[in-house]
Amino acid sequence: MNTSLLIESVRVRFPDAVSASHAYRGDATVVVVPKYVLEVARFLKEDPALQMNYLMDLTAVDYSTFGKRPAPAFFASSGVAVRPSPEIPDEDPWPGPPDQSRFALVYHFYSTTHKHRLRLVTPVDEADAQVDSVTSLWPGADWLEREVWDMFGVDFRGHPDLKRILMYEGFDGHPLRKDYPVNKRQPLIGPTN
């Protein structure tokens, strides 16, 4: 099924869940309101025309500093006029992060029967960082959701055992958030730096 048909079939079935969609660089993407995630995922898995039997990946992006980093100009202090090199232009640009929420959960689905892929993006607000867990549909989501919790702090309702997976118990904070500095260490033994 090609990308526009895929997006249409989801949009037609869930008109109030899908808030946006695009096919940037050929990747079919739908943006879904958080409370419908489990329903849409179930539809994707069970509908015979889509049959997305694989949950390939579940991750999150922290959009809090998107587009806000200034390009550091190496010679700025010496007075040499430096303009950052222009971006490679794009005829069909990306619409940008889903909305003003801090996090966006990204699900990648694949179907082995129809050989098509779909990306599902869900904006998650920092204040209410909670989404339904899809472990009932795909047991592989268990560890993926634990990793998102560990790295970003997004909670999953209905997850059997949400605890840290990559970091250790005494670690405080969520490392992949943009406000966690890269080399802030919390060693169990040994010096901090």
Partner: protein, 458 residues
């Protein structure tokens, strides 16, 4: 997990009636000889049978995704080497193809062939390591030594092309670092001859070996539907019967033009996985041989005026005095580090996009346009700047589908780089694989998982 008393039915006749037995918690801890890499498996045992197992990972978490946000797009490539460190070229290729998809550029055909060739060589060395290590854990130390011998031949081959044995950083965004050396086909043929000999010996030692077959058959069974629901891909899935290979189903680079077969097993036990990996090595060699034959020819390195190559120092001196005419068509002879990346090979290995790929050194040192485009790509504050966007690009890693999800905000550093690690899914299914089996079956099962810590924990 708390130990629970076993019910009365499991006691033998000779034991007195009031003997209480409890399950034992055995911690197969992070540092263990039979575990390649560091992972902790806490098992609850009833005698020799595993009742429950819990896997704890994260002992090699090195913050790849966080580090990728602090360096520029080409600077992420050394970090990708160390993800699946037994097949680093596949990771490099996956990341570079993801960023090229984001940029919307395509590389020349010869570059695709070169990438495919080195990826398949990397895949062979991964499977050699996996089969060798799992054979060693079952006691077949000889097989391990033979396979590492074959791997050394392949690593010497990789060293001829890239300069390093293991952590290569060979691909660049928009191409590869250097072309294959001119005399590549002959050492490649010899290395494959040695590898085939080693594979024959390994087959002879293992495939019908009573002990090996007894330990591997029927252990660690998983059905194809269960494997798919856990997100397992690669040889592990194909051994269970499902035929999904990214190279066939979603072809990239030039895989659609190269004929090869994908071995698919039937029972989903460890023996099938071993046989699938052995056969995949043979198919990879077949791909490389066909690709070497089909590749568009590379460039020839001579000066158009004299017919001989120009030494690099001479070329720079001529450029400094402004004698551009004498060096305009030529290509310099440089030392081993820059071999293969000269001006004549440049169109074959690099996308024709000067905002992405560095110019050849003859242009950098020879004329001002080359110097400027080098500056614009390397200096702080400049560099490769893809447009704002997000892409996902899957390649077939040695363990399964290795996907890179790259988000760009238009700046010089990637905004988010996510690796979809193939062995993460397999490890999450490990409790299911181990439960019900015996503690000794854990060794071949874990060996056939081919857990690579760098990829699992990133």
């Amino acid at each position: 997990m708390e130990p629970t008393p076993t019910p009365e039915t499991t006691r033998t006749e000779s034991e007195p009636a009031e003997l209480e037995t409890r399950d034992m918690l055995l911690n197969i801890g992070p540092a263990h000889p039979a575990m390649h890499g560091i992972v902790r498996i806490v098992t609850k045992l009833d005698g020799e049978q595993i009742q429950e197992a819990e896997v704890e990972i994260g002992y090699l978490h090195r913050g790849f995704e966080k580090m990728a946000e602090t360096v520029d797009y080409n600077g992420v490539i050394p970090y990708t080497d160390r993800l699946n460190y037994v097949s680093p070229l596949i990771n490099n290729m996956g990341y570079c193809m993801a960023v090229e998809k984001l940029l919307g550029i395509s590389v020349p055909e010869r570059c695709h062939y070169v990438r495919v060739i080195v990826s398949e060589i990397s895949r062979i060395s991964d499977h050699l390591t996996c089969v060798g290590a799992s054979a060693m854990e079952l006691g077949a130390m000889t097989v391990f030594l033979y396979m590492v011998k074959a791997r050394e031949y392949l690593w010497e081959l990789v060293e001829k092309v890239t300069g390093a044995r293991l952590t290569v950083s060979y691909c660049r965004v928009g191409g590869v670092k250097a072309d294959l050396p001119e005399d590549f086909a002959e050492p490649c043929r010899k290395a494959f001859e040695e590898t085939r000999k080693v594979l024959d010996e390994a087959h002879g030692l293992l495939t019908r070996n009573r002990i090996f077959v007894d330990r591997m058959s029927g252990t660690g069974v998983i059905s194809a539907e269960d494997a798919i629901s856990y997100g397992i891909t690669g040889p592990f899935l194909r051994a269970s019967g499902a035929d999904y290979d990214v190279r066939k189903d979603c072809p990239y680079a030039v895989y659609d033009r190269l004929p090869f077969d994908v071995p698919v097993g039937s029972c989903g036990d460890n023996m099938d996985r071993y046989l699938v990996r052995m056969e995949e090595m043979e198919q990879s060699m077949r791909i490389v041989e066909k690709a070497l034959g089909d590749m568009p020819p590379g460039a020839v390195q001579v000066d158009p005026e004299t017919g001989r190559p120009i030494p690099a120092a001479e070329m720079v001196d001529l450029a400094k005095v402004g004698n551009i005419a004498a060096i305009s068509g030529g290509c310099a002879v440089t030392g081993p580090t820059l071999e293969g990346s000269g001006r004549s090979q440049h169109p074959a290995i690099a996308a024709d996009e000067k905002r992405v790929f560095l110019p050849p050194k003859e242009d950098t040192y020879g004329n001002i346009e080359g110097l400027m485009s080098h500056f614009k790509l390397v200096m702080h504050g400049h560099g490769v700047r893809p447009p704002k966007g997000e892409v996902y690009f899957p390649v077939e890693g040695a363990n399964g589908e290795l996907g890179f999800y790259v988000v760009s905000d238009g700046g010089g550093n990637p905004y988010r780089v996510r690796v979809r690690p193939p062995c993460f899914a397999i490890m999450s299914a490990l409790p299911k694989l181990l439960t019900g089996g015996m503690i000794a079956d854990m060794v071949p099962t874990f060996g056939s998982v081919n857990m690579i810590g760098g990829e699992l924990d990133r």
